[in-house]
């Protein structure tokens, strides 16, 4: 029998580290060289399939990196099961910012949240300023998952989401129906999940 789990994932990190590009690569396998900055939040979904007929559907909340909207924090963190905190390997300051986000997550979010630290722009190896060792060491100290990606080439992108899917406690009850009733955003992300979603709906009216 196939099982489907649904999780809320938030993407955090400084402006222009490539959060939206990362999601675009993961969800649509596309890349834009010139993306406009995200405002407020964007929302997408993507499903990954694990072994034993298990699939994990991510509700991805891609947040704006600008710190304009502190008061949106409760919405980002409410029922978030996992967070991907992104930095840019060519910008040491973005790792600093990532640490701030991680502290914030540890303070504000549910303690069981799975956090992954993600060094993006791996294609810019020549301009690297943040070593793998440094980031890895920090991630180990804080008990975070860690990986490097390139949204541009696609390297490592599905790996990091796959690793998160595997790490999420699949025995735990999926998030409340209220948090996941609606899946707006880009249509046709995964058509065959539509039916499964409906049967989960507790509201039979």
């Amino acid at each position: 029998m196939s099982k489907q789990f649904q999780f809320k994932l938030v993407l955090l990190g400084e402006s222009a580290v490539g959060k939206s590009s990362l999601v675009l690569r993961f969800v649509k396998d596309q890349f834009d060289d010139y993306r406009e900055s995200t405002i407020g939040a964007a929302f997408l979904t993507q499903t990954v399939t694990l072994e034993h007929n298990t699939s994990v559907k991510f509700e991805i909340w891609d947040t704006a990196g600008q710190e304009r909207y502190k008061s949106l924090a409760p919405m980002y963190y409410r029922n978030a099961n996992c967070a991907v905190v992104v930095y840019d390997i060519t910008q040491p300051a973005s790792l600093e910012k990532a640490r701030t986000w991680i502290r914030e997550l540890q303070r504000q979010a549910d303690p069981s949240i799975v956090i992954a630290l993600c060094g993006n722009k791996g294609d810019l190896e020549a301009r690297r300023q943040v070593s793998q060792e440094e980031a890895k060491k920090y991630a180990d100290e804080e008990g975070l998952m860690w990986g490097e990606t390139s949204a541009k080439s696609g390297d490592g992108v599905s790996d990091i989401f796959m690793a998160i899917a595997k790490k999420l406690p699949l025995t735990a009850p999926p998030p409340r129906a209220g948090a996941s009733r609606n899946t707006p955003g880009r249509p046709a992300v995964d058509l065959n999940k539509q039916a499964a979603g409906d049967s989960n709906d507790p509201c039979a009216c």
Partner: protein, 416 residues
């Protein structure tokens, strides 16, 4: 130069003038009654070269254009600097609030009512509730005087869905309309792509159903309130808080339609009395041009300031409104007028109303020139932000008396 040459040159001058934004020297247009001709200021600065003067030589024209561009560049730089400094001060304020989190968790969270006895903690609340605790504290401080149970949202929503399916739901189109214009700068509630669009609509459907027993329908502005609550609370709780919050007397009156219009009039009289006390000149000017609080107060109160003030400023106003009740709505509203005060002396009704609607053309031009966004609170173009409004609210400490408020309420709403 030949006449044709001259004509072409003067055309070029007038064209280039049309393309230029207004001079930085006059950020606000001085429009004292048009019949008196140009103001003193306008006589001194020349915006366009008068047609009766010969056109400038090309060289001079170029120099002036270069000077102009330089002035504009510096003006933009200065604006950037101001924005940056404002942002830095805001981050610092937010950081300070977050640093008090442990005090909140230890002293306020167990029983928030402690702030009514402890002035130090009450002051802390006035600085803004830490975002992490907002959901819990808003829910508790609003309370549940209506004694709604956890399932009430679900029940109302399923009634609404049945009505929608049978085409008997009364205000679906108005709701759609109101939702589409709710906090557009956040992109959260936009139709199609907004992640919380459906939640917002469902909360409003349920709210309409829950009020229908009292014979009340949808009221514009409710979408803003629902949106702010959804950002902070899961939908079922947002519903309970919304119902109870809008049951507070002032909000209830403004949301009550025709049935409560007498109460709303009383609230207008109360506002006028306070305005006359606090800002007599504004009061007098409004009076002369027959501008009553009805022209602006409902626009502010129905969406609880979310249409006019920046989102972050609203969150903190909500913190204090939820704690202090209706009187704070009035303090905040007076503070808005205090920030706008220098702009409110127009002797022209249309001009004043336009300004109060947030549509003053001069201010919009300046905002565009300085690269400020126009999709946030409508009054951001007038420099209204968390800082400026709280300056005014704090300054009111000197003369604001809760006893005055109570007395006015007793006078105007004796049945309360």
């Amino acid at each position: 130069p030949s006449p044709t040459h001259r004509a072409i040159q003067s055309m070029a001058v007038s064209l280039s003038n049309e393309n230029l934004p207004p001079l930085p020297l006059s950020p606000t247009k001085h429009q004292y009654s048009r019949s008196l001709g140009p103001s003193v200021l306008e006589k001194v600065i020349s915006k366009t070269r008068p047609t009766f003067l010969p056109p400038k030589p090309k060289q001079e024209d170029n120099k002036h254009l270069a000077d102009w561009q330089d002035i504009m560049r510096q003006s933009r730089l200065a604006a950037d600097k101001r924005r940056k400094a404002l942002q830095d001060r805001r981050l610092l304020r937010e950081k300070k609030v977050e640093e008090t989190l442990h005090i909140w968790e230890k002293e306020i969270l167990p029983d928030w009512r402690v702030v009514n006895k402890n002035s130090r903690l009450r002051k802390l609340w006035w600085k803004g509730v830490p975002t992490k605790l907002r959901p819990a504290l808003w829910e508790r401080a609003v309370g549940n005087p209506l004694a709604l149970n956890k399932d009430s949202f679900r029940m109302c929503l399923s009634r609404a869905k049945r009505a929608l399916a049978s085409g008997t739901f009364p205000s679906a189109a108005v709701i759609d309309d109101d939702v589409a214009t709710t906090l557009p700068s956040l992109h959260l509630f936009l139709p199609e792509r907004g992640p919380m669009h459906t939640d917002l609509k469902e909360l409003l459907y349920a709210w309409v159903v829950s009020r229908s027993d009292e014979g009340l329908g949808y009221q514009r502005g409710a979408a803003r309130i629902a949106a702010m609550l959804l950002i902070n609370l899961p939908i079922q709780k947002a519903f309970v808080v919304m119902r109870n919050l809008l049951e507070r007397h002032c909000m209830r009156s403004f949301f009550g339609g025709d049935a409560s219009s007498a109460d709303v009039d009383a609230y207008y009289r109360i506002f006028d009395t306070l305005l006359a006390d606090a800002m007599p000149k504004i009061y007098f000017n409004f009076k002369q041009h027959h501008i009553s609080p009805a022209s602006y107060l409902p626009d502010w109160l129905l969406p609880l300031f979310l249409d006019h003030l920046p989102f972050e400023a609203c969150a903190r106003l909500w913190d204090v409104f939820i704690l202090e009740g209706d009187s704070f709505l009035y303090r905040a509203s007076l503070a808005i007028l205090a920030v706008l005060e220098p702009r409110l002396f127009f002797p022209d009704k249309q001009e004043l109303l336009e300004l109060l609607r947030g549509e003053n053309k001069a201010a919009i031009d300046v905002a565009i020139r300085e690269g400020n966004s126009l999709d946030g609170g409508k009054y951001e173009i007038y420099g209204l932000n968390e800082e400026s409004i709280w300056e005014r609210i704090d300054a009111m400490e000197d003369w604001w008396r809760d006893s005055t408020w109570t007395r006015l309420i007793q006078r105007e709403l004796p049945d309360l």
